[in-house]
């Protein structure tokens, strides 16, 4: 009965309800797009750090966990490795470089990351081999680099970096391809530390070391009991360092928290607007239908059916709207150039979808109350 009436009403007023579904669809697009952007930006920022195999990250003290400002010397790394409770410690050094091509193809900006083969910080290849030797002129590229530059295992890439006054180009053989490892809005490539120090851009050409200073050290604890005191032990024993976990590290990246909070607020406001719009629409609908509802109650329609009618309509319209919005968003994303960092990771989109489906019933609550309060006596004009 309730289903019958609500479907009939929507069907005979297709135009109006469809138009309103479109409004919900637009709201859904905005919310989903924002959610995708937030998670895409977050990922572009932190993907490498997030996937890092480490319990503790060691930074220079007083730099607010900024990877760029942090500086750890080889001697400090050596002493961390000697600490009781430390299973492994891997140095990580960040820099930027460009992959260039012979043909007219645009160059690709990458994060150029130096690591110790086999130590924390060195990602595992999903195709080909891992880095093995400290001095081989080989490189691991992440899958985005592989796709964008169309290289596969065994190919050579040309790396361009500024040495003093000149731009130099170096050839590196790709030994393996990793999964996505973006860092600071760029896809990443990995080399051993000596290779990194030699090829990274620098102000004075020809100066490099086998054991260069690095930015951070990733530490794996021997077991969980030792992990409990390890962070403090490291900062206590080693001068001029402080420790943190991975999450704090990427949240401390410049702008990361602000950016996520901004996008979160945007999303929250859009949902709020959606709730109010749906609430307003159905409230006006119900107000217009008061004589009709009074009549239905007078001829013996139970409150249960009156309420279900209202709820069902709200649910239908919301679902159609969110479905439409979802499809359009999907279409937009598919048709969008790769370099827009939008990503539909399961959880963020799911949360957004659930929130979108909830705003209907929440917004419609007022109109349901309104419908329930209509007196059957209104049918007699009383």
């Amino acid at each position: 009965m309730a289903l019958y009436l609500s479907v009939k009403e929507i069907w005979r007023n297709k135009g109006r309800f469809f138009l309103f579904s479109l409004v919900i669809a637009l709201i859904a697009i905005l919310v989903l797009y924002t959610a995708g952007l937030a998670s895409g930006l977050a990922s572009a920022n932190k993907e490498y750090l997030e996937k890092l195999r480490a319990d503790v990250l060691v930074f220079k003290s007083g730099v607010n966990y900024s990877t760029i400002e942090s500086r750890i010397e080889y001697d400090q790394l050596r002493r961390i490795r000697l600490l009781e409770g430390v299973a492994e410690a891997g140095p990580i050094a960040f820099s930027n470089a460009k992959i260039v091509f012979d043909s007219e193809v645009d160059s690709i900006d990458v994060s150029f990351i130096g690591v110790d083969p086999g130590k924390p910080g060195a990602p595992n290849a999903v195709l080909g081999d891992n880095l093995r030797f400290a001095h081989s002129k080989v490189v691991l590229v992440d899958q985005k680099v592989a796709e964008d530059s169309n290289v596969s295992v065994g190919d050579f890439i040309k790396l361009s970096s500024t040495q003093g006054e000149e731009d130099e180009v170096y050839e590196l053989r790709v030994v393996g391809i990793t999964d996505g490892q973006q860092y600071f809005f760029r896809p990443s490539i990995f080399v051993s530390l000596p290779v990194w120090d030699r090829y990274r851009p620098k102000a004075t050409a020809g100066v490099y070391r086998n054991k260069p200073d690095v930015n951070v050290v990733a530490v794996l604890a021997k077991d969980s009991t030792r992990l409990a005191y390890l962070p403090e032990a490291i900062s206590a024993v080693i001068d001029d360092v402080e420790t943190t976990d991975i999450q704090t590290a990427y949240e401390s990246a410049p702008g990361y928290s602000e950016q996520q909070a901004t996008l979160g607020t945007l999303q929250g406001f859009t949902l709020l607007i959606g709730t109010l719009v749906i609430g307003g629409f159905f409230q006006i609908q119900t107000l217009q239908k008061i004589p009709q509802i009074g009549m239905l109650k007078a001829i013996g329609t139970p409150d249960r059916i009156v309420a279900s009618m209202a709820i069902l309509q709200i649910i239908f319209v919301t679902i159609i709207g969110v479905l439409l919005g979802g499809l359009v968003t999907l279409g937009l994303v598919v048709g969008m150039p790769d370099n827009i960092p939008i990503q539909f990771s399961g959880s963020s989109v799911l949360t957004a979808l659930i929130a979108l489906l909830l705003i209907g019933p929440v917004g419609g609550m007022v109109s349901i109350r309104l419908a329930l309060k209509v007196e059957p006596l209104t049918a007699l004009g009383m």
Partner: protein, 259 residues
């Protein structure tokens, strides 16, 4: 003697608004049998709608009781009353009778759906009543495509489809021109007599009284006249509507107001 469908026992309704008590219906006892059609007339403010609302179980009397098919409405819960209304009572209101997004036949069948009846099996009956009321060509039209008279006839069909014991109509001809009004009430009267419902119609229009068996005239919440003979009824229905309004004007001054 026919079965008694409706019985009111000394029904009284007192409204209280701003410390002023109004006896809208005052000590009214009536009986209506199956197959009997009654007109409830009286000047404005005489308590007709209030009376109808109590008969419809939409309003609880301050004193006295209403029995339909022998069941006292006062003993029922709200939920039971709602169920009772959809099963035992048929309604035609002055306006807003129809669901705008349902066709004529769907509006009539609504009453069956409400009662959880299989609609397919009864489609024949819904059609039959509508055809009987002269709506063969309007079965699948929406209310917005119907004239006011046609809409009222659809409402009448809906009020009868589920075979209610009691059929109530509140000024069903208020929005109709004279010719239409006669046609609608005549159809209504015929169906009530044939199908043995008990029918009560509130009306301002004394000319409509010629289709009923008894006329109950109310003034100030009380029954002032009970007209049962056909001669008297035809005299009444040939008088102009003006008369009863005059009567109302006079009676307003001696209204029962208790402070």
């Amino acid at each position: 003697m026919e079965r008694t469908v409706l019985e009111t026992q000394q029904v009284t309704k007192i409204y209280r608004s701003n410390e002023i008590l109004v006896r809208a219906v005052d000590d009214v006892s009536i009986q209506v049998e199956a197959g009997e059609f009654i007109a409830l007339v009286g000047p404005s403010g005489s308590g007709k709608t209030t009376m109808l609302a109590m008969l419809a179980s939409l309003l609880v009397p301050t004193e006295g009781s209403v029995l339909i098919d022998g069941e006292p409405l006062g003993d029922m819960t709200d939920r039971q009353r709602t169920k009772f209304r959809r099963e035992k009572i048929g309604f035609t209101f002055q306006s807003n009778n129809l669901i705008p997004y349902l066709t004529s036949i769907e509006n009539v069948e609504l009453m069956l759906r409400l009662n959880g009846k299989r609609v397919k099996q009864r489609r024949g009956r819904a059609k039959e009543i509508l055809v009987r009321l002269g709506l063969d060509a309007q079965l699948n039209q929406l209310p917005s495509q119907l004239s006011a008279g046609q809409q009222q006839r659809v409402a009448i069909a809906r009020s009868l489809i589920h075979n209610p014991s009691l059929v109530l109509a509140d000024e069903p001809t208020a929005n109709l021109d004279t010719a239409r009004a006669h046609q609608v009430v005549q159809n209504f009267s015929d169906l009530i007599h044939e199908e043995r419902h008990a029918g009560i119609m509130v009306t301002h229009d004394l000319r409509m009284c010629k289709y009923v068996d008894r006329v109950i005239q109310m003034v100030d919440g009380k029954i002032s006249h009970l007209i049962t003979s056909q001669e008297e009824i035809s005299v009444l229905s040939e008088s102009s509507e003006f008369d009863i309004l005059e009567m109302g004007g006079a009676s307003m001054t001696k209204k029962d107001v208790i402070r």
